[in-house]
C-alpha cells in the first residue's frame, strides 16, 4: 500500500487542512441553503403546542385564575398553573445560582411577563386564543425596579418565599431583597493605598441591562415515550449534558431515561445556558398528555423574560502616583439580578469572574465587593458573549483608567503602556487572585498604535477641536483606546462547577478502518463552527484530513459528557480534550506502526500524517494504513480498533487579550455618532482557523457596537419593561455597522495542549470599552470624565447640552 504517488511534505500538510488553515466552514452549506435543522423544524406526530399566559404587571398577588373560557377554546387541551405543578414538586425549580425560581407564578408575580399559566393546544393559534382567555385576577403590589432602593428600609419584600432566610447560597443576607455579598482582595490594604495615594480618581460606571438576543429564540420539544419511559427533549441548549443531569435531579426520572438533543442552534450568546420555565412546562405537559409538546418563544418573550445580561452598577476608586503609576483599585458593585437569582455562573463565583477587573495592569493592591439584589425585573444575568461577568469587569477598568488619565492629564495610551503587566511577569498572579497564563501586552499595543497612526489621530483631533472652537464644524472627534484581558475556558474542576458539575470537557474519537473518523464532543456549536475547527485540531494531531473527520455534538445519548459551550470555553477545554484524545490515538497508532514496520516503537517519529523510521523516512506507515491494520490485522498484545476518549480538566483558565482603537465623529446637534474607524488586534494564542477568528471578531464587535451605542432594556416606575421588541432593541444592520479592521499577535497559552486560548467573546469584551472610551474622549477637552452607556442619539445630545455645546437654548419642557 506504499505505492501512492509521492507528494511533497508541504502538499501533505495542505491536504490535512489542519491548524492555521482558513478552511471554509463545513456548516455553511446547509445554513446558507436554509437546510439547517433548528428546534422549530422538529415536527413529531401528534405534537401539541404550549404558550404562556404572562403577567401584565411587575409585582402583584394572584387572587384567582380561571381557566374555563380557555379550556372551551376548540383545540385547547390543557391549562397548567402552579397548582397543577405543585403535586409534582415542579412549581419551583432550582436556578444555576443556587436560588429557586417559580416555574409558574406561585401566589405572586415578580416581574412583568412572568410565566403564570401554560396553555397546551393542537396548534399555535388555538394556544394563543387560549392564552387570551385565561382570566387572572391580580392585586397590585408596589413594584421595585431601582436596585439602589432594593435594600432601603421599608422597601417592599419581593421574595416572600425566602423572606426570613438570613443565609443564602452565597452567604449571609442583610435584607429580604439582598441575595449575597461577594468579596475579593485585601480591603484594608486597598483602603490604605487609596488614603495614602497622590491621586485618586472616582467614578460610578453603570453597565445597562441588555439582552443577548440570538437570531433564534429559546424553545424545545419534549416527548415522553410512555412505552419505554424515556423522555427526549430537543432544545436550544448550550449545555445539553448539564440539562440532562439537572432534569434528572428535578424530575427524579433516572438520567439514562432522559435524552437531551441540541439540534442546530441559531446563536446563543449566553441566552441558552439557563433553564427556563418553558422547558419544564413542556416536559410536564408531555408526561401528562403522553404526546410531544413544543414550546417556542417569540421575540418579545425572548427579550423580556429569558436571560438578560449586565445591570451592573460599579463604583470605582483608582489610586495612582502623580506620574501615572496605578497603586490601588477599589470597587463596589450593585448587581441587579431581577426577581430570581438565575445567573449562570460557576457555583463558587456568584459575581462570575468579575475579579478580573484589575485588567491588563500590574496593580499591587485591589479590593472588590459585589452586592446582589432582587428587583421586579426578569431573572438572568448571563454572560452575553463573554466569560462570566468579564465584560462588566473589562468595561469598569477600561473606563477607570481613562478617568484616571483625564485626572492626570495623561494620554490614555501612555497610561496603559505605563501600567501593563510586563511580558516577563507571566505567569502573573493578580491582586485579586488570578494567575494570568501568558501575555505580551506592550507588543500588541505598540502594533495597534502604529497601525492606526495614533499620534496622527491625536494631531487631527487637536485640529478638529480648534476648528470646532472657531465655529467651522459642529462635529467632535473622539479616539477610544481599550486594552483588555479576558479570562476564559472555565474551568479547572478544583474551583469551577455548575450545580456541582465539574467544568471539564470531553472528546471521543473513532477512527474508521479506511482511515476516516468521527469525533464527538461535550460542547455544542451555536454558530462558532466547531465542526470545522475541531476537525482541524484533530487533523494536525492524527494526520487525517479534516474533511475526512465527522464532528458531532449535542446528543447526550451519543456525545461524551461535557459542560457545553459558553464563556469561550470550547477551544480551551473541549479543544484541549480533542488534542489529548488525538494524542492517545497517535500513541496506539505508533505501536501498530512499529509492529507493521518491525521496529521498536521508539525508533519511529511522527511526520504530518505518518510514522516513519528515524533516519529512514522511506519506511513509513500512514495513519490510513495504520487504521486499516488496527481493525484487520491481529497484532499481538494490542486490542483491535482505534478509538480514544479524553476528559480534559484544564489546569488553569486562558487569558486572551487585545488592543482596540475606535475613532468617532459626533454631531453635537443630533447626537449621531459616526464610527469612522475601528481597529481590533486580538491575541487568542495559537490560531486554529484565521478566517473563523475573523468572523468571530466581526460578530463580537457588531454586538459590542450594539451594546455601546443603543441596546438597553429598561423598566419604568410602574414595572413595565421597555426595549422588549426589535423596534426598540438595537440590532445593527449592515448599514449601521462600520468596516472592521482586524489584526493579531500570537502568544500561545503555555498550559493548553495546542496553545489556543479562545476568541469568540474577546471582541465583545474589548469592543464595548473602545466605543465608550471614544465617545467620552470626544468630550474630554470639555471636562467630561464619564457619560452613561448606551451612547444613543439622545444621551449623546444631552451630554453635549450639559457641556454647553448645543448652540440652541434647551427646548422648553
Amino acid at each position: 500500500m506504499n505505492a501512492e504517488t509521492p507528494i511533497s511534505l508541504e502538499q501533505r500538510k495542505d491536504k490535512l487542512q489542519g491548524l492555521g488553515c482558513s478552511r471554509k466552514r463545513v456548516e455553511d452549506a446547509r445554513f446558507t441553503q436554509g437546510k439547517g435543522n433548528y428546534v422549530d423544524d422538529i415536527k413529531l406526530p401528534g405534537m401539541l403546542f404550549g404558550d404562556f399566559v404572562r403577567s401584565p404587571i411587575g409585582h402583584g398577588r394572584i387572587k384567582s385564575i380561571n381557566k374555563e373560557a380557555a379550556l372551551a377554546v376548540p383545540g385547547v387541551k390543557a391549562v397548567l398553573t402552579a397548582d397543577d405543578l405543585r403535586p409534582l414538586g415542579l412549581h419551583w425549580m432550582p436556578t444555576l445560582a443556587g436560588d429557586v425560581q417559580a416555574v409558574l407564578a406561585d401566589e405572586k408575580v415578580l416581574f412583568q411577563n412572568q410565566e403564570v399559566a401554560f396553555v397546551v393546544a393542537e396548534d399555535r393559534y388555538a394556544a394563543a386564543d387560549g392564552v387570551e382567555l385565561v382570566e387572572v385576577e391580580y392585586e397590585d403590589l408596589p413594584p421595585l425596579v431601582d436596585p439602589f432602593k432594593a435594600m432601603e428600609e421599608g422597601a417592599p419584600t419581593l421574595r416572600e418565599d425566602i423572606a426570613d432566610k438570613t443565609e443564602g447560597a452565597h452567604g449571609p443576607r442583610r435584607h429580604p431583597n439582598h441575595i449575597f455579598t461577594w468579596e475579593a482582595g485585601d480591603q484594608a490594604a486597598t483602603e490604605q493605598a487609596l488614603a495614602g495615594a497622590e491621586v485618586v480618581a472616582e467614578e460610578m460606571v453603570s453597565y445597562q441591562r441588555v439582552h443577548p438576543c440570538p437570531l433564534e429564540t429559546c424553545g424545545c420539544v419534549a416527548s415522553m415515550d410512555k412505552i419505554n419511559g424515556k423522555l427526549t427533549i430537543w432544545g436550544t441548549f448550550q449545555a445539553p449534558h448539564a440539562v440532562r443531569t439537572v432534569a434528572s435531579l428535578i424530575t427524579k426520572i433516572p438520567e439514562h431515561n432522559i435524552r437531551i438533543i441540541s439540534p442546530d442552534i441559531g446563536g446563543g450568546f449566553g441566552n441558552k445556558v439557563g433553564v427556563y420555565p418553558g422547558y419544564i412546562c413542556s416536559a410536564v405537559a408531555s408526561i401528562v398528555l403522553g404526546v410531544p409538546v413544543k414550546w417556542i418563544e417569540d421575540r418579545m418573550e425572548n427579550l423580556s423574560t429569558t436571560a438578560f445580561a449586565r445591570d451592573y452598577h460599579m463604583t470605582g476608586r483608582i489610586a495612582a502616583t502623580r506620574d501615572g503609576r496605578i497603586t490601588g483599585l477599589w470597587c463596589h458593585v450593585l448587581a441587579d439580578h431581577g426577581a430570581f437569582d438565575a445567573c449562570a455562573d460557576p457555583t463558587k463565583f456568584p459575581a462570575g469572574f468579575f475579579n478580573i477587573c484589575t485588567g491588563s495592569y500590574d496593580i499591587p493592591t485591589a479590593y472588590v465587593a459585589v452586592d446582589g439584589v432582587y428587583t421586579n425585573k426578569a431573572p438572568g444575568g448571563v454572560a452575553y458573549r463573554c466569560s462570566f461577568r468579564v465584560t462588566e469587569a473589562s468595561y469598569f477598568i477600561e473606563r477607570m483608567v481613562d478617568v484616571l488619565a483625564r485626572k492626570l492629564d495623561m494620554d490614555p495610551a501612555e497610561i496603559r503602556l505605563k501600567n501593563f503587566i510586563r511580558k516577563e511577569q507571566f505567569p502573573y498572579t493578580s491582586a485579586l487572585g488570578w494567575e494570568y497564563d501568558s501575555g505580551d501586552y506592550e507588543t500588541a499595543m505598540d502594533k495597534a498604535l502604529k497601525t492606526v497612526d495614533y499620534q496622527g489621530l491625536r494631531a487631527e483631533q487637536k485640529a478638529a477641536r480648534e476648528a470646532f472652537q472657531r465655529g467651522e464644524t459642529r462635529k467632535l472627534m473622539g479616539v477610544g483606546v481599550a486594552f483588555f484581558t479576558e479570562i476564559v475556558g472555565a474551568g479547572p474542576v478544583k474551583n469551577c462547577d455548575i450545580l456541582g458539575l465539574g467544568m471539564f470537557d470531553s472528546c471521543e474519537i473513532r477512527i474508521h478502518p479506511t482511515g476516516s473518523a468521527i469525533a464527538r464532543l461535550g460542547t455544542i456549536s451555536q454558530g462558532q463552527g466547531h465542526a470545522t475547527t475541531f476537525a482541524q485540531i484533530l487533523a494536525s494531531e492524527i494526520g487525517i484530513p479534516a474533511e475526512d473527520i465527522t464532528l458531532e455534538e449535542g446528543d447526550t445519548d451519543t456525545a461524551p459528557y461535557g459542560l457545553g459551550t459558553y464563556g469561550s470555553r470550547s477551544t480551551p477545554v473541549a479543544g484541549a480534550a480533542t488534542a489529548m484524545a488525538g494524542r492517545k490515538i497517535r500513541a496506539k497508532a505508533q505501536m501498530i506502526a512499529a509492529y507493521l514496520l518491525e521496529v521498536h516503537d521508539g525508533d519511529l517519529e511522527w511526520e504530518v500524517d505518518r510514522f516513519q523510521v528515524k533516519g529512514n523516512p522511506e519506511r513509513h506507515k500512514t495513519m490510513k494504513e495504520i487504521a486499516f491494520a488496527a481493525y484487520n490485522q491481529a497484532i499481538p498484545g494490542l486490542e483491535p480498533g482505534l478509538e480514544a476518549v479524553s476528559y480534559y480538566d484544564p489546569p488553569n483558565m486562558t487569558y486572551p487579550f487585545g488592543a482596540y482603537v475606535c475613532v468617532v465623529d459626533i454631531d453635537v446637534d443630533t447626537g449621531v455618532t459616526e464610527i469612522r474607524r475601528f481597529y481590533a488586534l486580538d491575541d487568542c494564542g495559537t490560531r486554529i482557523n484565521p478566517m473563523i477568528i475573523e468572523g468571530q471578531v466581526h460578530g463580537g464587535l457588531t454586538e459590542a457596537l450594539a451594546i455601546a451605542m443603543g441596546q438597553e432594556i429598561t423598566y419604568d416606575e410602574d414595572g413595565n419593561v421597555h426595549g422588549g421588541s426589535l423596534m426598540d432593541f438595537f440590532l445593527p444592520t449592515a448599514v449601521e455597522t462600520p468596516t472592521w479592521e482586524t489584526d493579531w499577535t500570537e502568544t500561545p497559552s503555555p498550559h493548553h495542549p495546542i496553545g489556543a486560548k479562545g476568541v469568540g467573546e474577546s471582541p465583545n469584551v474589548g469592543g464595548v470599552s473602545a466605543f465608550s472610551n471614544a465617545v467620552n474622549d470626544a468630550f474630554a477637552h470639555l471636562g467630561l470624565t464619564h457619560t452613561q452607556m448606551p451612547h444613543d442619539h439622545w444621551r449623546v445630545w444631552q451630554t453635549a447640552q450639559r457641556l454647553g455645546l448645543t448652540g440652541q437654548p434647551a427646548a422648553a419642557e
Binding site: 404558550d51 393559534y125 394563543a128 386564543d129 438597553e712 444592520t733 444613543d792 442619539h793 439622545w794 434647551a810
Partner: protein
Amino acid sequence: MIPGAFDYHRPRTLDEAISLLASLGEESRVVAGGHSLIPMMKLRMAVPEHLIDLREVAELRGIAVEGGQITIGAMTTQQEVIGSEELASACPILREAALQIADPQIRSLGTLGGNVANGDPGNDMPAVMQALDAAFVLRGPEGEREVVARAFYEGPFTTALGEGEVLAAIRIAAPAAGHGWAYEKQKRKIGDYATAAAAVLLELEGGTCRKASVALTNVGDTPLHAADAEAALVGSSLDAAAVEAAAAAARAIAEPAEDGRGPRAFRVHLTGVMVARAIEAAKRRAG
C-alpha cells in the same frame, strides 16, 4: 405574536371590495401590503374578523403624470414609487422620502396607500403629502370624495376615512419646475420610525423664497403641517435668521411622545434641526 382568527377575501374590483366592506361590516378591514396591519394583528392590537386583500384590484395600481397632475393608485408599492423615473422628475421628494422608509423588503410589499391611510404618526408619507398639499381620493358606497392630506389626520390611527371607504388614489399637483425639496429624517437604525423628520418644499425667485411647505413626521399624534414655519420662510432670502425662525416655529408645534427615541426635549430640539437641514438641502437644490 399570533393573530386572532379571521376570514380572508380577495376581491378583483374596487366595487367588489367596497360592497364586501359594506356587507361584512365593522369587523372587516382592507389589507394592502400588510406591513403595518399584520404586525398589529400579531400583537392582537387589531383583531379584524375579515381581511379584504386589495392586491388583485388592478384599478388601484399605477402612476400617472399628466399636465402637472400626478395620480398614484393606492396599491402602488413604495418600491414602485422609488422606481418611477416619471415621479422622480416631477416630484423628487417622493423618492427621497420612500427611500427612507423601513428597508427594501418592506418597501417591496408596503404600499403608498397603506402608508398614508394607516394613520400611524410614525409613517413618513403623510407629512410628505401634507407638504405637497396632496388630496386623497376616497371611494365608498356613496361614491367618491376627496379629502386633502392636511385635513385627513385626526389622531393616532384615526383619520377622515369613513367606515366602508377605501382610499383609491392620491392626487398631487406637481410642484413647480425648479423647486427645491428635501426629506430629512433621523432614526436610530434602518427599519426605525423617525425620532423626528421634516419634509420641505421651496420655490425661489431671484433669491427670495416665493413659496414654502413644511410638514413634520412623528413629533405629534398626527403628521404636523407647520404653517408658521412656512410663513417664516416666505419672503425671506432663507438666511440664517429665517431658517432659525422656521425651526423655532416647528419646535413650537412639536409634541412628541417620550419613548426609546428619547425624551421630549430632545425630540423637540431635533425637530428644529431636521427642519433647518431640510431647508438648507432644499435651498441647494432649488434652481
